[in-house]
Symmetry: C2
Subunit: 162 residues, 2 copies
């Protein structure tokens, strides 16, 4: 039974995602052709921001795959830094974001070859791959502070495929 | 016919690659378990260095697949910054590095789930995927300078599978 706590996934597009972050993909024309014509460079596509006391780091996340319907009972955000997720597979994954901790969240389903960069302070769900291996390169803030706020959702939302 | 200009690929390991850069993968135990036990974080695995006048950026590279035997006729390096390549597929790719522009290069073949970070100033071959799509997230220096030195190899080297 469908309820008003159900959220349907939409395809991830740069326009729809713009209030929350950057879509990182190789769609359209490259900004530069390099390596004697054999490589297109899509240049500097993420709005990185690691605050005054942080720096960029590359980490890997290996996450357990989730299934639909997905129960969304937690939002989090990183007040001091942006966070990018680049899948190291061609498997689509689920991207959940919210304007505030109390707004109705949006759910996006990526296409193969799409990563995202969450702008600093964006409320989002935890990393949710939909297939194994749930392997991602993560570019986020390295620093000495916790850089994490959590908000539990009660009742939860139920995320369904679009 | 095999000649002394032939170089055989070796598997990519952190130890063998250490003089040139970092292997970025999720092997071994994670540094931290997050998201209620559902995700392992392999934390801050790359030695990033973007020099005094640069900053980190995320770009995407879409490169044409190459085949064995691969003719290596060019080395390049970025004197002002490190450069990381994270494959957005599970396809192995070829990593060629060299101690100097005049040394005998080494060729490594990645395993699925392995990326690399070339340390600042490391001589390397151009990005060489072996299957389509040759799609990579690249974390390198954004700045106003060319940050590129090239060295043509004449005669070339011939890279063969291991």
């Amino acid at each position: 039974m469908s309820t008003d706590r159900d959220i349907l996934c939409q395809p991830l597009t740069a326009d729809a995602f713009a209030p929350f972050g950057d879509v990182l993909d190789a769609s359209g024309e490259p900004d530069k052709i390099i390596n004697a014509g054999k490589c297109g460079r899509y240049h500097d596509r993420a709005q990185l921001d690691f605050g005054p006391g942080g720096r960029a780091g590359i980490s890997l996340f290996h996450a357990e795959p989730r299934q639909f319907p997905y129960t969304l009972d937690l939002l989090e955000r990183h007040p001091e830094g942006s966070q990018a997720f680049l899948p190291m597979t061609q498997n689509p994954f689920l991207v959940i974001v919210s304007e505030t901790a109390h707004s109705r969240p949006l759910a996006f389903l990526t296409a193969p070859g799409q990563g995202i960069n969450l702008h600093r302070g964006t409320w989002h769900g935890v990393l949710t791959p939909l297939a194994a291996p749930g392997l991602f390169a993560v570019i986020d803030r390295i620093g000495d502070t916790a850089n994490l706020e959590e908000h539990r959702l009660d009742p939860p939302w139920r995320i369904l495929p679009g």
